[in-house]
């Protein structure tokens, strides 16, 4: 390296190169800068401004201060959408990650046919966010759907799960758990980084599998668990398609599947109440950012980095 730099200096090329870098960077980054400004930063600030206004696309926005934010906390449907989303996230994400870790543990040990199992379990992750799968779910958990047919064999009379206010959200949670394949693959990659000799040493010392799991696997895997947790929480908070399709766009029955983003969509693009929708959007950003920050702070106490 130093030889190359020396040669470059003697040719007087070094200064030219450094000068050229700034110009070249401007060219290479031009599309990204444009996108950052026009498609991301400007709309981000515009929605912050709009969140303090009353705006319906037809008339110019009129400044109303914090009214939209006050309205949120007095709006029973907004409170419902927040509660639905929190329940969905806090229940389905941990279950999904547990399933992912459990399967990754089983698949880890030089298993024959590993690649096939991995593909089969991963496939739902790729399809899970599609409209087709949401439609399928609507049918599988419908009144005379697949689940009730199977229950019928055991003489159990099922509900119309997706149209029952107590169970509709549950079917969406199951859908999210069903897509455990992506975090499973991340766990698989993480498990492979743990040196096998740790387990050997522990089992020679007579440590049980359970102890090995809690004292070797969990601590050494904790950065990966943390990474998966942050990603899946952020993703789950923004879920939209499943609830939209299963409830036919309403968030029903009785608002039991009214995801936050679904209510935002209804306000912004059905009633064209864009000021209110912008306030909701900024509140969502604050929740997601806050949740991620809490995660990072809490990680100091349980995530173990083996440097």
């Amino acid at each position: 390296m130093s030889v190359i730099q020396e040669v470059a200096k003697t040719r007087g090329a070094s200064r030219e190169l450094r000068k050229g870098d700034g110009k070249a960077a401007a060219i290479f980054l031009a599309p990204w800068f444009l996108g950052l400004g026009l498609i991301t930063a400007f709309p981000l600030l515009a929605s912050l401004y709009l969140s303090f206004t009353d705006y319906s696309l037809l008339e110019a926005p009129s400044w109303i201060g914090l009214e939209n934010y006050q309205r949120m906390f007095e709006d029973p449907r907004w409170l419902q959408s927040l509660s639905v989303t929190l329940r969905y996230v806090l229940i389905s994400v941990p279950l999904q990650l547990m399933a992912a870790l459990a399967l990754a543990m089983v698949l880890d040990r030089g298993l024959r046919g590993l690649a096939i199992y991995r593909s089969v379990y991963y496939l739902p992750s790729l399809l899970g966010s599609s409209v087709a799968i949401a439609l399928l779910w609507r049918q599988v958990f419908g009144a005379d759907g697949l689940v009730n047919q199977v229950l019928g064999y055991f003489g159990i009379q099922g509900y119309g799960w997706v149209s029952h206010p107590d169970y509709a959200l549950g079917t969406l949670m199951i859908l999210n758990v069903w897509t455990f394949g992506a975090p499973m693959i991340i766990f698989l990659a993480g498990l492979r980084q743990i040196p096998a000799m740790y387990y050997e040493a522990a089992s020679i010392d007579g440590a049980s599998k359970v102890r090995q799991f809690f004292n070797i696997t969990i601590p050494l895997l904790s950065p990966i668990i943390f990474f998966n947790l942050v990603l899946q929480l952020i993703g789950a908070f923004q879920s939209f398609t499943q609830a939209f399709i299963v409830s036919g766009g309403t968030g029903g029955p009785v608002d039991s599947t009214l995801f936050y983003t679904l209510y935002l969509y209804q306000n912004g693009f059905k009633s064209f109440d864009m000021g209110y929708a912008s306030a909701m959007a900024w509140f969502l950003l604050l929740i997601v950012a806050g949740m991620t920050a809490v995660n990072f702070l809490a990680s100091k106490y349980w995530v173990f980095y083996d440097d």
Binding site: A24, G35, I186
Partner: protein, 317 residues
Amino acid sequence: MTDTPVRPDAPTQTTTKPPVRERRSLSEVAAQVPDAPRRRTVGPQVRRVLKHVLLIGFGLIMLYPLLWMLSSSFKPNEIIFRDPSLIPSAIDLSNYGEGWNALLHPFHHYLLNSAIIVLGSVVGNLVSCSMAAYAFARLKFRGRPIWFAIMLMTIMLPIHVIIVPQYILFSELQWINTFLPLIVPKLLATDAFFIFLMVQFFRGLPKELDEAARLDGCGHGRIFLQIMLPLSLPALATTAIFTFIWTWNDFFSQLIFLTRPDMYTVPIALRTFIDATSNSSWGPLFAMSIVSLIPVFIVFLFGQKYLVKGIATTGIK
């Protein structure tokens, strides 16, 4: 995010196979130690078979809804709800014919619309994200760490925070009900995720290559096109595959920007099935759902290697 950035193509499998083998041989050694419990020498085979039975059973339960949808798409409507078996008594293609023409436009119209958006997005992401990644990975310019941090933050930004002003902007430009709001942002590298992916990859390529090329008088354009890109095919493939699947499945932005039936894409068209047909005609709906999943499934079959590596290194879905 990850404490040790791994190149997307870094073969995690090959580097980690030896420990697995070693572990097995060591446990065999341990089994020969007189004090080792006896079940260790008899149990493993039974256990292994049991494990495979459980894993296959679990896999079947997971895939059952998909397989059931596939088989139902070949069954006449009256039978779908009475017969949960997977093998249809006769292959009946009438659901496909009926579904294909059930909406305002024949289904290939929607397939074509989706294909246009997917193609535009894939090309856009490949070009714009690789360019930005080259700058972040190889060029020295003022404020690089700050811009890089901003780029990383935009990955986490929920689209819902910017969608309202975007809608207003695009309707000012008369772009609603065109494909432009869905393609142009990709040409401007707004899927920053893929910039990150390619930066990671470029950083893993030996720097000596481009330094030598620069000494020979190569400009950055040529280094990028003739040295970096040809070496980065795995990262480009991962980007193309994920862009394909995400765009094909995307519902939210297509729902917002495409409201005229002749502009509908596959997901939006499928959604109108619920309104257009009565609840009793699930057969045609399933048939078209299957059609909509086929492209993703094909990409999955042929792109698995890149999908798995892409996820393992960057943690995407």
